[in-house]
């Protein structure tokens, strides 16, 4: 599948934004971090900013961005519509909660309630994003139960690194947060590793002979090869769905994403565990930079490694 940059930025930015939002709500409501106005203002601005930036950038790949509002209507059947709806709904408790915490309006009970609502809406939104891909039967690398959970885990892991960096920057020491960040990064590592392992061992589902039904002609021994293409240059279907990344490059890029997305951040968080202030700031910064590059690589690969069934009509032996 052709990797569309606006979709890559959308899913990674909003994923990290929701991850940060979830951790802010969780830690704030449980009293694990002090509800300090400047910290809350900065953190909520970054979280909601990332989500908003993501949502807006997702409209860039549309043919008619001005009609994007129509996308909220088909929640009964469409995961894309559900995602849009959940994303907008999540703003309500999040903004109310940010207001409450920053200006000390309301009480603990209300804040806990709003935190729970925000966490729920954020999880639902990321899950819907994952399901947009996981629900497509045409792409075997996406049509997996694991996919929405990988999206959730990566959103939480990238959000956690961002959260941890903000805590370090504001001089808030929380042993809990370092542990939670390490835990979330490890969970994401395991799930993503499982994902790559499973798409490697999947095997193709449909051959060209099966898709065209032309195995009927000479029986199972019949093989088809394209003789004349229907058009002289690639059409939309080939440009959008026919993107191929060389296996060699894909493996190298996977290695880089393991490194940037998981290993460097995990190492840097361990450095922060030492408790030396200036070292923690540098470590946090490196972790944040690495995780950002890593997640963009990971998302690019998610598209580039996906093979669409339609390719079997265009000369791919099986997909």
């Amino acid at each position: 599948m052709h990797p569309s940059y606006s979709v890559i930025f959308f899913t990674t930015a909003s994923g990290a934004g929701y991850g940060l939002l979830i951790l802010l709500c969780l830690f704030g409501a449980l009293g694990l971090i002090p509800v300090e106005p400047l910290f809350m203002f900065t953190s909520f601005s970054i979280a909601l900013g990332l989500v908003t930036f993501g949502l807006i950038s997702s409209t860039f790949h549309l043919g008619h961005p001005e009609r994007a509002w129509r996308a909220f209507s088909q929640w009964k059947t469409s995961w894309l519509s559900r995602e849009g709806g959940a994303a907008v709904v999540s703003f309500i408790p999040a903004v109310l909660l940010a207001f409450g915490w920053i200006f000390s309006v309301g009480d603990e009970q209300l804040w806990s309630f709003l935190s729970a609502l925000t966490i729920l809406a954020a999880i639902v939104t990321i899950y819907c994003t994952g399901m947009i891909y996981a629900s497509l039967r045409t792409i075997r690398q996406w049509n997996l139960v694991l996919v929405p959970y990988v999206y959730l885990a990566l959103g939480l892991a990238t959000g956690a690194v961002l959260f941890q960096f903000l805590l370090i920057l504001f001089g808030v020491n929380s042993g809990w947060s370092l542990g939670v960040t390490l835990f979330l990064l490890s969970v994401a590592l395991v799930l993503k590793h499982l994902y790559w392992h499973s798409i490697d061992s999947l095997g193709t589902k449909y051959t060209a002979e099966a898709a065209t039904g032309l195995w009927r002609l000479f029986g199972p021994s019949g093989k088809i090869t394209p003789l004349d293409p229907p058009h002289s240059t690639p059409n939309f279907v080939m440009r959008e769905m026919g993107f191929k990344v060389a296996r060699k490059h894909a493996l190298k890029l996977r290695l880089y994403s393991y490194l940037c997305l998981f290993l460097i951040p995990i190492l840097m968080i361990c450095v922060a565990l030492l408790g030396v202030n200036w070292l923690s700031v540098i470590g946090g910064l490196i972790a944040l930079g690495a995780v950002s590059i890593g997640v963009i690589l990971e998302r690019w690969l998610f598209f580039a490694e996906a093979t669409h069934t339609v390719n079997v009509f265009y000369g791919m032996e099986a997909a």
Partner: protein, 252 residues
């Protein structure tokens, strides 16, 4: 709404005979010609006279060579929307622009509400939907919805443009939901099949399988029956000669 209708009154669709399709692309070009000014029009092209010409077409004709250990045969394979009974291209649409008509089962895209997110094209294993780069919306076969009910056309023309254009009669149009219809009988008789039934989209369009040629014999038979060396001039009648003379004069 992009929810699918529970049932459709008719299942209008095409039956494509792979045994006699000669791969002339007349169906594809006449489709483009009709539809560029029809419901889905315009079907724009990019760089049409340049080095990388491409554009939206609703029908594409592949040509394949089917090879076994002992035989080989060319099969021309037209590919367009199959107007499935339960397609994901409709249900994934976030705006409701993609829909299936209850009255006849035709799957359409409303060009006024499509946002051009391309998700429907991702959901279709048949590559039936093409994004129009110029218009920013999805284009797909309309089964010539603006022809088949069009009373300003002669009755013979009230079929999809591809069916009307096919010089070999390889394309048939009708109600596949009615077991007594000509198309349904044809499918029954010739063991018509669904493309990728594993997807459970339940395609309405059916393909009639090609029949294996008699290997190696066919060409020899043809040679014996029609002596190609025989001068054709001798067989011409007086009328033919007059027409030929008139043609020469008029062509000057």
């Amino acid at each position: 709404m992009t929810s699918l209708p529970e049932a459709t009154n008719k299942k209008l669709g095409l039956v494509i005979d792979l045994d006699i399709c000669v791969g002339c692309h007349a169906c594809a070009t006449s489709c483009k010609e009709w539809n560029t000014s029809g419901y889905s029009g315009p079907l724009t092209d990019q760089d049409p006279y340049g080095k990388d010409p491409h554009g939206s077409w609703l029908n594409r004709v592949h040509s394949y060579e089917v090879v076994s250990e002992t035989q080989s045969q060319t099969v021309h394979f037209p590919r367009s929307c199959l107007h499935c009974e339960e397609p994901d291209c409709v249900t994934v649409c976030p705006t409701g622009a993609s829909y299936k008509r209850e009255e006849d089962g035709i799957v359409l895209v409303n060009p006024d509400t499509c946002i051009g997110c391309k998700l429907c094209s991702w959901a279709c294993p048949y590559g039936a939907r093409e994004y129009d780069l110029d218009q920013g919306v999805m284009k797909k076969c309309t089964l010539c919805v603006d022809r088949i009910y069009n009373e300003t056309l002669d009755e013979v023309d009230r079929v999809p443009a591809c069916v009307r254009a096919c010089p070999t009669g390889a394309r048939h149009f009708g109600d596949l939901g009615d077991p007594t219809s000509d198309v349904s009988k044809l499918v029954e008789e010739r063991s018509g099949y669904d493309l990728l039934p594993e997807f459970d989209y339940k395609p309405v369009n059916k393909y009639l399988p090609p029949r294996a040629r008699k290997n190696g014999l066919a060409a020899a038979d043809v040679k014996q029956e029609i002596p190609l060396s025989q001068p054709q001039q001798n067989s011409k009648s007086a009328m033919d000669l007059i027409f030929s003379w008139a043609d020469k004069k008029l062509s000057r």
